[in-house]
């Protein structure tokens, strides 16, 4: 495990809250959270989360690092930004959830390898890095087959009709992926950004 935050193996890590305040994108605003629950109450998908954002933020304060980074809350966020605009303390909740998800990926938690959103994000960035553009066919294809050959085939077949409709309406093309001209340039920029990110030991 490539641990970035302190003492990764302890269930309660009292330094975790400090780590989040100082290293997570928007994390410093979390100090302002007054546990009102406007975020959890605004969440369209809250019922499908292990914990709403309000509870997750209290768990951060309690140092429950592993429970936070393995909860499905960080993977189920639909990025609707309801909570962000409603938070009376201006906590940028969506950004924090995304960066916590990234932390879970970087720390190599098993849940972060299995989560739908992590698999999808991996496929998505693969396309963005390789071609400079998102190829919806490749992203969904790679995502489906990340569950294994049989499951990939099943998911692919299950969405055959949707794909056909998209092809028929010329919203999915059949040729090579759309790509930018300066792929090499973009890859160099991204590699350097990654290097700086690692140098900081955090998400900038």
């Amino acid at each position: 495990m490539n641990a970035l935050s302190p003492t990764p193996s302890r269930a309660y890590d009292l330094n975790f809250a400090r780590y989040v305040y100082e290293n997570i994108d928007g994390g410093e605003r979390l100090r302002m959270c007054m546990q009102c629950g406007a975020c959890s109450g605004s969440c369209p998908i809250g019922q499908q989360m292990d914990h709403g954002p309000r509870k997750l933020f209290m768990m951060i304060r309690a140092g429950m690092k592993e429970a936070v980074l393995t909860s499905n809350t960080i993977w189920n966020c639909v990025s609707c930004y309801n909570c962000v605009v409603r938070c009376p303390r201006k906590v940028p909740i969506t950004y924090i959830l995304h960066d916590l998800a990234n932390l879970a990926v970087r720390e190599g938690f098993d849940a972060a390898k299995k989560a739908d959103n992590a698999r999808f994000a991996k496929a998505f960035m693969w396309s963005a890095r390789k071609y400079g553009r998102t190829d919806e066919r490749l992203v969904t294809g790679i995502y489906y087959f990340s569950f294994g050959l049989v499951e990939g085939m099943k998911r692919g077949m299950g969405n055959q009709k949707i794909a056909l409709n998209m092809i028929k309406t010329k919203r999915m093309h059949l040729g090579m992926p759309h790509a930018i001209k300066a792929k090499d340039e973009l890859q160099k920029i991204l590699a350097k950004a990654q290097e700086i990110q690692d140098r900081h030991g955090k998400g900038a």
Partner: protein, 297 residues
């Protein structure tokens, strides 16, 4: 008076939302706006890039676009895509607010001899239409009013959240009860239904990757639109349009419903109302569920 702005079409303009791009390129010139694409633009990272790449690398995607945009000129950058707007606007504002981030991103851009100073203004095309173009100019272009067409205006999330009500978005509308889309509908001569689900989420990319988690959200939207007797649902968001349209057969299968409601872009409605070609300009042939009523107008 015509003016040229820098245009960021986004990846969906070449795939699931070709008809958004097509109809915008048709309606904007008559409204006095010429588009000049960002040279060799790349993906913005959408809602998931951050999770895999991290904050800085994800921001670097937008930084390259901004550097290329600035190299072409100081004009405002406009984009029709909710996610492109969200990311590009956010990174631009973050660069303006943080010397550290500006330094880091310029260090990354520097490896290929590029740089960006944070001086551009990144805007959503809907905001441009509201603030700069104005409803009167839109109405002035209407040659075929869409009389009798009942439209449920579905705004979605990221077009208005979290920026619509900020200074840098010219406070063009509110987060929870935006009216701009209904204004567009009415400007086209159609009827704007009181669609109270206008800012409810369709599940975004979560509906794409995990339909089990998101389809009930889309079902609720469709139920409300059906109850109101909507002829079409109109939306500004590429992913909303695709999700709400393509999943209708699957939703019917899972929930025993019988939805078959066309979902179009506001710009397609405008193209038809402006008297432009319904196929070549409005791209109505690219909707999976066709609106006979709209096609017959």
């Amino acid at each position: 008076m015509s003016r040229t702005l820098t245009y960021y079409p986004g990846c969906s303009s070449q795939a699931s939302a070709v008809h958004l791009d097509k109809s915008l390129r048709a309606i904007l010139p008559p409204l006095g706006v010429q588009l000049r694409d960002i040279d060799d633009w790349n993906c913005c990272g959408a809602s998931v890039g951050h999770i895999e790449a991290g904050h800085l690398a994800n921001s670097a995607l937008s930084a390259r676009n901004l550097a290329n945009a600035k190299a072409a000129g100081p004009e405002d950058v406009v984009t029709p895509c909710a996610a492109c707007y969200l990311n590009t606007h956010y990174v631009n504002e973050s660069i303006r607010g943080s010397e550290q981030l500006k330094g880091d991103l310029n260090e990354a851009l520097g490896v290929v001899g590029k740089s960006y100073d944070g001086s551009l203004h990144v805007r959503h095309i809907c905001e441009l239409l509201v603030t700069d173009v104005g409803l009167d100019a839109i109405k002035a272009q209407v040659k075929k009013p869409l009389t009798g067409l009942k439209v449920a205006g579905y705004v979605g999330c990221q077009t208005v959240r979290p920026f619509a009500n900020t200074e840098r978005a010219n406070k063009f509308d509110s987060y929870d009860d935006p009216t701009f889309l209904d204004d567009f509908t009415q400007a086209c001569g159609a009827e704007a239904l009181p669609f109270k689900m206008r800012t409810h989420c369709c599940g975004g990319s979560v509906s794409v990757m995990s339909p089990d988690k998101g389809l009930h959200l889309i079902k609720e939207l469709l139920e409300e639109a059906q109850k109101l007797g909507a002829d079409v649902i109109s939306t500004p968001c590429p992913l909303c349009q695709t999700n709400v349209e393509m999943y209708q057969p699957e939703i019917n299968k899972r929930f025993g419903t019988s939805f078959n409601i066309p979902v179009v872009f506001y710009s397609q409605l405008m193209a038809v109302a402006f008297g432009l070609d319904p196929v070549k300009d409005a791209g109505l042939d690219q909707n999976i569920i066709k609106s006979d009523k709209l096609l017959g107008m």
